[in-house]
Amino acid sequence: MNNTFNINRFGLLLKRQWLDFGKIYLGTLVVLIGIIIGFYSYFIPSIHSNNITDYDGNLDMRFRYGLFLFLGFLFISIIASNYFNLLGQKSRAILELMTPASVFEKFLSGIFYTAIISLFSYLLIFYLTDLAFVKYLNSNIDAFKGINPKVTEAQSISHQLFNDKNYLEYCGYFFASPFLITSIFLLGSVYFNRFHYIKTAISVMIFSGITAYIIFKAADILTSDMVRVNHGNYRNNGDSALLLILLITTALTLIFWAIAYIRLKEKEV
C-alpha cells in the first residue's frame, strides 16, 4: 500500500476526522445560521421604514454584502484555526499523529474541511438564507409598493452576481482570497500550541504592517527627487492590478499550505 497517498485510507481519514471536527463544525454552522437570520431579520426593509430602496430602486438589501464578507471571513478563519488546534494538546496530538495515515493525507483532509467544505457550506447557507428572505420580501411587494410605487422586487445575492458579467469577472480576481484566509489560519493552527486564532490574527497584522511599511518606504525612496512624466499614449490597465492580486493571493495560499504541511510533518509531542 502506498505510504504517501491511498484513496481508501484518505476516505477513512475524512470519516474519522469528522468524528471530532464534525461536532465543532456543525455547532459553528448553527451559530452562523442564527447570526445570518438575526442580521437579515433586523436589516431587511420594513413597511414601517422610510428608505426601502437602493440606488437602482430595488428593495434595499445592501447590508448583506458587508455581512457576507465579514461573516464569511470570521467563519472560514475560525474553522481553519480550529482544525489542527488539537495538536497543541499532548494527549490529542499523540492520538492524531499515531493514526495510520500519511502526513500528506492528514494535511489534505485539513484542506478538504477548512478550504472546501467550510467555504462551500458557507456559500450554500448564505445563499439559502438570502433566498428565503428575498422570497419573503417579494411575496409582500404589494405592501412595499404602498409606500413607494416605483419599488421593484429584491434579487438574490447570487442572481446579482451571476447576471452581471463585469461584476462576476471582478469577483473572479478575488477567487483565491478565501483560500488565502483559510491557509493562513490553518498554518496558525499547526504552528501555535495555544490561542491559535488570536496569535494568528496578531501575526497577520504585524506581517501586513511590516510589508505595507516596507512597500511604502521602498516606493518613497525609489521615487524621491523624481518628477512624474506623463506619456500621452499611456493607458493604465486596471486589469493588470487585479490579475496581480489573483496571482499573489494564489501564490501566497500555496506557500502557506506548503509551510503548514512542513510544520505538520515536523510536529513533535
Partner: protein, 294 residues
C-alpha cells in the same frame, strides 16, 4: 532428519530473532544543552516483553516517543521494523500500538470510535476486542467521555491490543488501574506475547511488572544502565534476605528481619528477581554491576 532440524533452527533464528528495533548512537534532548540520551545503542527483538525502568526524568517516555516517531532525535539512527519512525509512514503506524500515559478519547460511543478507527488497522480483531472489553468489565454501549480514567485506560489498552500491532509500546499502563484491573492487565499482557510481537512497558511501579517481563531495560545517566533478561539476571545475581552484611554483597537494604541483599550468584542458587531491589542497586552501584552484564 538432522538436516531438516538444522533448517528449522536456522529458519527460527532468521525469522524469529531478528531485531525489531535498532538504536544506533542516538542523541536526543529537549534542548541542546541538556541531552537526555548520549550515543545510546540498543537492539530489541520480537518475542519479548521488555520492562523499561528508570527514575523520574531518566527518559523512559522520551525513548518510547522516539520509537513511535513522536519526537526527532538530534543525531543517530533509529530503525523500527525497517522503517524510520520519524517519517510516520502508515505501514509502520499500523504496526505500532502506542498507549501513552496521558491520552485523549473523543466524546463518542465505543462503537463509533471503533468504526472510525479500526479500519486503519488491517488485522484488527473485533472478536478479540469484544473479549477484552468483557474481561475488563467495560460495557460496550458506554460513551467514552462518561467513563472513569481507569475504564478509559482499559479501553485504549483493549483497542490497542486488538489492532494486532507487532510493536506494543505502553507508557505507565497500570497508572490509574485498580488492583483487580492490574491483575487482569498482567494476565492479558502475558497472553498477547507472540513470536512476532515485541512489547515494551515503561513504568515506575516495578511491582506491577512482576512475573510479566522477560527482559529489564534500565535507563540512567543518558544511557542504558542495564539490559538483561530476567534469566540472565537471576543467573548472575542472587536476591536474598540476610541477617548480616558481608563483602560479597553488592547492595543491601535494611528490612525488618535483616537485609534484602543482592550478590553475585557464585553457587548457581535459584532466587526470585526483586525488581525494586535491583532497580535501587543499579542506581546506587552502577559501576559494580557493569562488569557482570557486559
Amino acid at each position: 532428519m538432522e538436516v531438516i532440524r538444522i533448517q528449522h533452527i536456522l529458519v527460527y533464528y532468521l525469522t524469529n530473532t531478528v531485531s525489531m528495533i535498532k538504536i544506533n548512537n542516538l542523541n536526543f534532548g529537549y534542548s541542546k544543552h541538556k541531552p537526555l540520551f548520549k550515543n545510546m545503542n540498543m537492539q530489541l527483538s520480537n518475542g519479548h516483553i521488555y520492562g523499561l525502568l528508570g527514575k523520574n526524568g531518566a527518559g523512559k517516555s522520551s525513548l518510547l516517543k522516539n520509537l513511535a516517531g513522536l519526537v526527532y532525535a538530534q543525531s543517530g539512527t533509529l530503525d523500527v521494523m525497517g522503517f524510520n519512525p520519524v517519517k510516520r509512514q502508515p505501514a509502520l503506524l499500523e504496526q505500532i500500538c502506542f498507549i501513552p500515559e496521558e491520552f485523549y478519547l473523543p466524546s463518542v460511543k465505543i462503537d463509533s470510535y471503533v468504526k472510525a478507527n479500526a479500519p486503519f488497522y488491517k488485522n484488527f480483531n473485533h472478536t478479540y476486542f469484544s473479549q477484552l472489553l468483557k474481561e475488563f468489565d467495560i460495557p460496550a454501549s458506554n460513551k467514552l467521555v462518561n467513563m472513569s480514567y481507569g475504564q478509559k485506560k482499559k479501553f485504549i489498552i483493549a483497542f490497542g491490543l486488538a489492532t494486532q500491532a507487532k510493536l506494543v509500546i505502553m507508557d505507565e499502563p497500570t497508572n490509574g488501574l485498580d488492583i483487580p484491573s492490574k491483575a487482569q492487565f498482567r494476565k492479558i499482557m502475558a497472553s498477547v506475547l507472540t513470536d512476532d510481537r515485541c512489547i515494551i512497558i515503561s513504568t515506575h511501579q516495578v511491582r506491577d511488572l512482576d512475573n510479566l517481563i522477560d527482559t529489564v531495560i534500565m535507563l540512567d545517566e543518558h544511557d542504558v544502565a542495564l539490559k538483561a533478561s530476567v534469566d540472565e539476571i537471576t543467573q548472575k545475581l542472587t536476591f536474598k534476605k540476610v541477617k548480616e552484611l558481608d563483602e560479597s554483597i553488592i547492595y543491601a537494604e535494611a528490612s525488618l528481619s535483616g537485609y534484602n541483599a543482592v550478590m553475585p550468584n557464585y553457587h548457581n542458587e535459584d532466587s526470585k528477581l526483586d525488581m525494586e531491589l535491583l532497580f535501587n542497586a543499579i542506581l546506587a552501584e552502577k559501576i559494580k554491576f557493569k562488569p557482570l552484564f557486559n
